[in-house]
């Protein structure tokens, strides 16, 4: 424990900027993954255990597209849209067949896909460490904000995540589609009775949730090394975020992801050995005191 160092850091503007931006960098990728997980759970009631594998898939697809085209935008689109399509098809072909069954059956099905995807990635791309590479546009020296350096790519990454999160929130709270989604989360029979194509609705929700994971993977590909099985650690952290924020709440996922990001960033200075423990303690505290999460509907 070195809380003095932490206090010292927070009192200096440069250090505070670096650590807070670090929290944002970690938190925003986590937010993308967790909000997808949360959306799928909130609307479909499915705990998508394969969500980490979708993140991995997004990263590898971006890596492949970048290798083929050398175009960063193409890489991002390939990661996000590729996984979105995969997710929608996955819901239609597999998950939809076991609605109404034991929820844990879905977990088992997803586990099957984790095994398949991890192995497929290894078969297609090999077991070597992979790195997508930083596009020339972003290969610039860090920008200084109040004396604290922030790399341009991270500014872009945070911006992209916030923009996508904002769009998602607007889409769900302000559009007709969003109304249907919320209604479906609440009372699927009624939405079906109103003549809405619930199959399409479910597939789109699953697709959007997957898109978020794929986009997070694509955004991470230039800065994080790619290996088969890389989805495992982000999956567990996304669960923590989803639980703390409240399952099904996008705003909750945002706040909780920031919280976890800042805990990691500041913890690295103040309590490095207890960062992991702190995350689980937070999760337990929230569950005990407010089981539905900070922004979840009360049960």
């Amino acid at each position: 424990m070195d809380l003095e160092a932490l206090a010292g850091c927070l009192s200096s503007a440069a250090c505070a900027v670096t650590q807070v931006s670090t929290g944002l960098i970690i938190g925003m990728l986590l937010f993308l993954v967790a909000s997808g997980l949360s959306l799928i759970f909130g609307v479909l009631g499915v705990i998508n255990f394969a969500h980490g594998a979708f993140y991995m898939l997004g990263a590898y697809l971006a890596f492949a597209a970048y290798g083929l085209t050398g175009n960063f935008v193409a890489a991002m689109l390939a990661g996000a849209l590729g996984v979105a399509v995969f997710g929608a098809v996955f819901e239609r072909v597999f998950i939809s067949r076991i609605y109404g069954r034991d929820v844990l059956m879905q977990l088992l099905l997803c586990y099957g896909f984790v095994l398949i995807l991890d192995d497929m990635v290894k078969i297609v791309w090999g077991a070597d460490y992979k790195m997508m590479g930083m596009p020339q546009t972003f290969a610039l020296p860090p920008v200084f904000v109040a004396g604290g350096p922030v790399p341009p790519y991270y500014i872009f990454m945070i911006g992209a995540a916030v923009a996508v999160g904002g769009l998602l929130w607007l889409g769900i709270s302000r559009t007709r589609f969003g109304k249907l989604v919320r209604a479906a989360a609440h009372n699927p029979q009624m939405v079906g009775a109103l003549g809405v194509n619930t199959k399409l609705l479910y597939a789109s929700v699953f697709g959007i949730g997957s898109l978020l994971a794929g986009l997070a993977g694509a955004l991470a590909a230039p800065v994080r090394s790619l290996t088969p099985g890389m989805g495992l650690s982000i999956l567990i952290e996304s669960f923590i975020v989803t639980v703390i924020g409240g399952m099904g709440s996008i705003v909750g996922a945002f706040v909780a992801a920031l919280l976890i990001g800042l805990t990691r960033a500041l913890g690295a200075i103040g309590f490095p050995l207890f960062v992991d423990g702190a995350m689980f303690v937070m999760m337990a505290m929230v569950l005990i005191l407010r089981p539905s999460g900070l922004f979840g509907r009360q049960v």
Partner: protein, 344 residues
């Protein structure tokens, strides 16, 4: 009923014991013996979890904490050299029961998915402690140096044959205990709580206490599985306490079936068997095992034992009502959205 049930269960257990003891003689293959021990350890983890999941309606994502608790406390006690195997065994189960009592007291207040995630959080904290407390647990290297097996009551567990008999006997005792619990009035109370907790409360049942008892019992039996695995691997490792271990237990239950008593055991046999043979067969075992799991889930939509049981029930009903048309029976496919559960 319980006396009769007990006698019948004991008779069945004796028959199973006789059968299992014949295995090494009939198939002189050490790998098969290893496999049975392995399945016994994982089977206890899955079956004890099903006492919570299948019978009480509590889905725990953190059950491996007690499995690891048993493995570590047993390993540490034996390495201390101060106690005999039976004493270490009893103390380890006691420790895990205590651990389950403390964690359970907090967790069982919560419902459904919240309960699941809270148990997960506690398990991961336990895992963190194992990793961090290096001086006691060896951290990520696990308990090094093996687990000594001094002779007790004339039994030498260093001998492979005796160890096999020991595992099988311990396993069957635990199975009989679990069976007795599920068939006892208490077991039916748990089912009532699972199906209709409010009704249980109206009937004057202390739901909290019943759930907690179930939680502690399940944790204790899981710790026995952990002890068996620690003896088999001659060490305890942090992986035992990782969330993927709890995940495996859930997958075994779902693969085997949660509504038939021996379903989770069948699941353990299936998952470990598949693992074992597919790994020996191809390097791409993830792909193969994944495809098998997906096919099983979509083909049966429930665990194997439940599937067989349901088929039998359906056939019996059909025979009983010959006049009814044969259409519309079997595993009906619920249309998406028409029947959906789990959303909160």
């Amino acid at each position: 009923m319980s006396a009769n049930g007990l006698l019948r269960d004991l008779a069945l257990a004796a028959a199973a014991l006789a059968l299992l003891l014949l295995v090494p003689a009939a198939f002189p293959n050490p790998a098969l013996v290893d496999f049975i021990i392995y399945v016994a350890a994982y089977g206890l983890l899955a079956m004890s979890l099903n006492l919570l999941t299948g019978y009480t309606g509590l889905v725990s994502f953190g059950h491996a904490a007690y499995f690891a608790g048993g493995a570590y406390s047993f390993g540490l006690l034996m390495q201390s050299g101060a106690v005999s195997i039976p004493a270490a065994f009893a103390l380890s189960v006691g420790f895990s029961a205590l651990l389950a009592l403390v964690i359970g007291a907090i967790c069982v207040r919560l419902k459904e998915i919240y309960f699941a995630f809270l148990t997960l959080a506690f398990q991961m904290m336990f895992h963190s402690v194992i990793l961090t407390w290096v001086s006691l647990t060896g951290g990520d290297q696990g308990l090094m140096g093996g687990i000594p097996r001094p002779v007790f009551w004339g039994i030498d567990l260093a001998d492979a044959g005796s160890f096999y008999v020991f595992c099988v006997v311990v396993f069957l005792i635990c199975v009989v205990i679990l069976r007795q619990i599920t068939q006892s009035p208490f077991g039916y109370t748990l089912r009532l709580i699972r199906d209709n907790p409010r009704r249980a409360e109206f009937l004057g049942i202390d739901v909290y206490r019943a759930k907690l008892t179930s939680f502690v019992l399940a944790g204790s039996v899981a710790s026995v599985g952990g002890i068996l695995l620690a003896l088999f691997a001659s060490g305890a490792y942090p992986e035992f306490a990782y969330w993927t271990m709890s995940g495996q237990a859930i997958f075994m239950i779902m693969l085997g079936g949660s509504q038939v008593f021996l379903g989770p055991l069948l699941g353990a046999v299936l998952l470990q068997g598949l693992n074992h043979y597919v790994t020996a067969f191809t390097e791409h075992h993830g792909l193969v095992l994944g495809v098998v799991i997906v096919a099983a889930v979509l083909g049966m939509r429930r665990g194997l034992a439940d599937f067989v049981w349901d088929r039998r029930e359906t056939r019996r009903e059909r025979r009983a009502a010959e006049d009814a048309s044969a259409a519309g029976t079997g595993a009906g496919s619920a249309p998406a959205g028409a029947a959906k559960e789990g959303g909160t």
